[in-house]
Amino acid sequence: MRSLRRGLTPLLLLVPGGGWLVAFFVVPMAFMLLISLQQGTFDTGYRLTWNFSIYPEVITQYWELYLRSALYAVITTAITLAVGYPVAYTIAFRGGRLKNALLLIVVLPFFVSFVIRTLNWRMILSDNGMVFGLLKDLGLLEPNFHFLATPASVIFGLTYNFLPFMILPLYVALEKIDRRLIEAATDLYASRAQAFWRVTFVLSLPGVVAGSLLTFIPAVGDFITAEVIGAGNPQVFMVGNIIQRKFLDSLDYPAAAALSFVLVGLVMALVTVYTRSVGSERLAG
């Protein structure tokens, strides 16, 4: 009797949640694929014609947006890593009894809605706002200087919003490191820099990889930052902006669906390349 229950119980536990994921994730992905192969207009209706040529079409038309999205997301990931690593390191190695408190302080701002935070940055960084307005009044900046709607401003916004996704996994990886290994390195006459790069950093690589993926993936698909801090400037649009507009404004469903799948492909390709290269580096080092 016990073996029968063993056979049935996991199924009963898995079916409701698994079914939900199939119904509202797997099935929708299949429908998005079908819709990408349809042709027509919103008014006359879309019909499935297995129009695979939509894929080369959207890629030739929008390759620049994919390139820009990937570029912004890679730069954002690099900056969050460079800025987040010292912070995670300080909290993990020097935090003492304040570790948990410091970690909670890092995430506290992110309990306020993403949209509200981004909107407030737009106000802070506006042309005559509290930062640049002041610098202009002091004569330190050109009167017609502007930061919003530039590529740097979008990268700035992405960096701010995804910093905790980098800091938390880095902290987890650094916190786990056995301090005796670092001591052993210095005992063996490694300089502090050598001990850091050849022991601490290598051991924290899982956190670097996790943090990079957690930053890169949401960043590459983001459209709020380019819409708000990028002030809707088409010159700084990312591919998410076009997908969102085509789905919700121009109702061009097939192109929007095809653009989404190309984005999925791009993310998968870049993530594979990245994890492979880090993996081989670790084997070599």
Binding site: L14, L21, S113, M123, I124, I224
Partner: protein
């Protein structure tokens, strides 16, 4: 300072400066993280001349009274709280069941389940939202409260599974075995031993789900139709400037999170040094 003195004192001074550099950098970064929060709180007390609310005009508490009188805000808040509450309950239940099945039972096809949980968590949000939209379009489902709910349960399940599974994996199985040895049947053992032990994990999973749900814009916008959740209302109302009501509600949300985290830290301190690892699971992504 003479040259020999610099030579001998230089390294020590540099080491001291070096040891200060990291905490200083961390402190500055924390300030940076709180910058838009500070501005939000400040401008929630602003008395704007027009609807723009870009420059400081004068102190008022009126915004905190007015906010409750505007039906579109209270409606959006009610919708958000409703979606967050229901989706948290459903996703926590379904996710906990999957977590139990994955840690307590052997079954074939485990990798499919793992993939089904992993992919929605790592895909860019815009993809999840867009795919759901194609499902609603294909079946002619009218978008509203129920479609938002289906979407939120979907993206929350994975986070619940990961959080609960971490707790289950770290659990001491001998306690359950002791229960069985003392003639408790499977059900009694589960409710009297297993469930109380994993409850903290379930609770932090539920809190994470609630936080993700109440803040979501990207996935929601594709499933919302004409219904507005709080982030959707904020975005729509802030095209030109941020109305003070947005900052008022943002400030209130921040205070709730602040109080919550304060209580958590206080509870940890009371528990003393047995306080286990940092509550990273609570903030997750």
């Amino acid at each position: 300072m003479t040259a020999p003195a610099t030579a001998s004192r230089g390294p020590a001074l540099r080491a001291r400066l070096g040891s200060l550099a990291l905490p200083l950098f961390t402190g500055l970064l924390l300030l940076f993280l709180f910058a838009p929060i500070g501005v939000m709180i400040g401008f929630s007390f602003n008395d704007p001349a027009g609807r723009q609310n870009i420059t400081w005009q004068g102190f008022t508490l009126r915004n905190y009274v007015d906010v409750w009188g505007r039906s579109e805000i209270t409606n959006a808040m009610t919708t958000s709280l409703g979606v967050a509450t229901i989706s948290t309950i459903v996703a926590t239940t379904l996710g906990t069941m999957i977590g139990l099945a994955l840690t307590r039972y052997e079954f074939r096809g485990r990798w499919i389940m793992n993939l089904l949980i992993f992919i929605p968590m790592t895909a860019p949000e815009i993809i999840l939202g867009a795919a759901l939209l194609t499902l609603w379009i294909s079946f002619g489902v009218e978008r509203g409260f129920m479609t938002i709910l289906a979407a939120h349960v979907m993206f929350n399940i994975s986070f619940v599974v990961v959080t609960v599974r971490a707790r289950l994996a770290g659990m001491n199985r001998s306690l359950e075995e002791a229960g069985m040895d003392l003639y408790a049947n499977g059900r009694t053992t589960f409710w009297k031993v297993t469930f109380p032990l994993i409850f903290p994990g379930i609770l932090s999973a539920a809190l994470l789900a609630f936080a993700l749900s109440i803040d979501d814009y990207v996935i929601t916008v594709f499933s919302a139709g004409r219904v507005e959740t709080f982030p959707l209302w904020v975005y729509g109302a802030s095209r030109l400037g941020i109305p003070p009501e947005v900052n008022v509600l943002g400030t209130l949300i921040f205070l709730v999170a602040f109080a919550f985290i304060g209580v958590q830290l206080w509870a940890q301190r009371r528990q003393g040094r047995s306080a286990g690892p940092a509550p990273v699971t609570l903030v997750g992504r």
